[in-house]
Amino acid sequence: MFRTEYRKIVAVLYRHFGFEQMETAEDIASDTFATAAQNWPINGVPPNPIAWLYAVAKNKAKTAMQRSNLFDSKISPQLETNTHVFIDEIDLSPQNISDSQLQMMFAICHPAIPTEAQVGLALRILCGFGIDEIADAFLSNKETIAKRLYRAKEKLRQQKISIELPSATQIDARLDNVLLTIYLLFNEGYYSISSNKVVNTDICFEAIRLCTMLIECPLTNKPGVNALLALMYFHASRLDARTDENGAHILYNDQDIDLWDKHSISNGALYLHRSANGNNLSKYHIEAMIAYWLTQRTDSKEKWQAVLGLYNKLLQIAYSPVAALNRVFAFSKVFTNEQAIAEVAKLKVKPDQFYFMLMGYLYTEVDNGQAASYYHDALKLAKTKPNEELILKKVNELR
C-alpha cells in the first residue's frame, strides 16, 4: 500500500507544486507516511487508511502553501492583494490521480532527460520504489542512486519541463520516448542482474501498469502502445517459472509449463491483435510477435521459420547487435549449428557475454572443446553468483 499510495500522492503534489518546488512535494509525501508510521502503531490503523493518508497530505500541502504565501507576501508586499493568496486544496480524486500520473509520465520521459535517469525517475516517482530498492535493481548503492536521481531532478528543473500532456501534434513523437522508457523499465526487471526476485517482478508489473494507463487514455491508445503491452504480457507469463525458490535462474527449456501464466499469455494475444492496425509497424509489433512464439514451447519448423522471418524484419527496422545474435539462434533452429556459426562470423559484433554464450551453445556437439572455451570466456564476464552457476552447469553438460 505504501508504494501505491506514495506514487499517487506524489504525482498529484508534483503537478500541483511544479518541478520548481519538487522538494516541497516530496517532503509532504514523505512526512505524510512518517506521520502514519508514528501514529498507527500507537493509535491503531485507522478504519480507512487511504482516506487518512489523503487527509494528512492535504493538510500538510495546505500548510506548505500558506507558508509559501506568507513568505511571498513578506518579500513582495505588492502581491498581498493578489489572487495568489487563495489557497486551493490538493485534489486527490481518482480522476486527478490518474491524470497527474499520465502527465508525470510524459514529463519524466522528456527528450531532455537522459534515458538512464528516466528509468530511475520512473521507478521513484511513477512507481514509488524506495531508493534502496532501486539501488538493488541496478546492483548499485544508495548514494549513487540518490545522486543520479538528484541530477535528473535538477535537469527537470533547469529545463523547466512542465507537467502536462503534449499537444495532439506532438503526442506521437513524445509517446515514442515514453514507450522506450517503459520498455527499458520492463527490461530492468526482467533481465535484472540483481537476484531480488520480488523487486524485479514488481518492476515488470509496474511497466505493465504504466503501459495500461496509456491504453486507458484515448489520446495515447495507439497501436504501438498495444504492441508493447502485448510484448510485456507474453514475457511476464514466465516470471513465475523462470526462477526457483532460491532465486536461481531456470532456463527456458527446463521451465515447468504449468507455471506459465495463461491469463498473461491470453492478454498478450488480445493486445497484439488490437495493435495490428494503422500504417506503422513498430519494433514492438515485431518483438511482440516473436514473444508470442516463445509462449509456444513445442519446437516446430513452422515456429522457428516464423521467428527467423520476424527477426529479419526486426533487423531491417531496428538493428541492434543483440537482435542480430538472437536471429542467429533462430537461424540455427531452422538450419544447422554449423551454418549458424558461419552466420555469426559475418556479423563482426563486439564479443560480449551474450556472444560467448551463443557461441558456446552453437559449438556444443559440433566441437565440445571450442564450446567449453567459449563458455569460459562467458564465465569471466559473469557478475553474479547465479549467472556463474548457470554457465558452469553448461560446461558440465558438455562432459
Binding site: P111, A112, T115, Q159, A173, D176, L180, L184, N187, Y191, S192, I193, T201, M232, H235, R238, L239, D240, R242, L251, Y252, N253, H263, N267, A269, L270, L272, H273, S275, A276, N277, N279, N280, L281, S282, K283, E287, M289, I290, A291, L294, N312, Q316, A318, Y319, S320, V322, A323, L325, N326, V349, D352, Q353, F354, M357, L358, G360, Y361, N387, K394
Partner: protein
C-alpha cells in the same frame, strides 16, 4: 502471483482463438509491406525507431527471451557514438542482401520532437 490483471483478464482466450488473432496480425503485417506502407520503403528503415542505435542511449537486447532464457545471462549494450553504432551496423545480415542498406542516424536531442 500475477497480481496485475487486465479487465479482460478473467477470461482466457482459447489457443484456437489466439491462433486466429495471430493469423490476422500476420496478415496485417504482410499487407503493410505489400501496399508499400512500410515506412522508408527502399531501405526498410523506420525512422521513428532509428533511436535504438543512438548517441548515448542505453540499448538493451529487448525482451526477446530467446538466447537469454535458453542459455541464460544478460547484457546491456551501449553505443558511445554514432560511429560505434555504424560499426555495429556493418555486421547487419540485411547487408548480405543485394541493394539493402542499413542507415544509422543520430537524432537531434532536446528539440522537443526527437527523442
Amino acid at each position: 502471483m500475477l497480481i496485475f490483471r487486465h479487465q479482460d483478464g478473467g477470461k482466457i482466450a482459447s489457443p484456437e482463438q489466439m491462433q486466429i488473432w495471430m493469423q490476422q496480425t500476420m496478415d496485417w503485417l504482410n499487407g503493410l509491406k505489400a501496399t508499400g506502407n512500410f515506412e522508408g520503403k527502399g531501405d526498410g528503415l523506420i525512422f521513428d525507431d532509428a533511436k535504438v542505435v543512438h548517441h548515448d542511449k542505453t540499448v538493451t537486447n529487448g525482451p526477446f527471451g530467446e538466447i537469454k532464457e535458453t542459455l541464460g545471462g544478460y547484457v546491456v549494450v551501449k553505443a558511445k557514438n554514432a560511429d560505434e553504432a555504424a560499426e555495429c551496423a556493418k555486421g547487419c545480415p540485411v547487408l548480405q542482401g543485394e541493394g539493402n542498406t542499413v542507415e544509422v542516424r543520430r537524432l537531434a536531442k532536446g528539440d522537443g520532437v526527437h527523442a
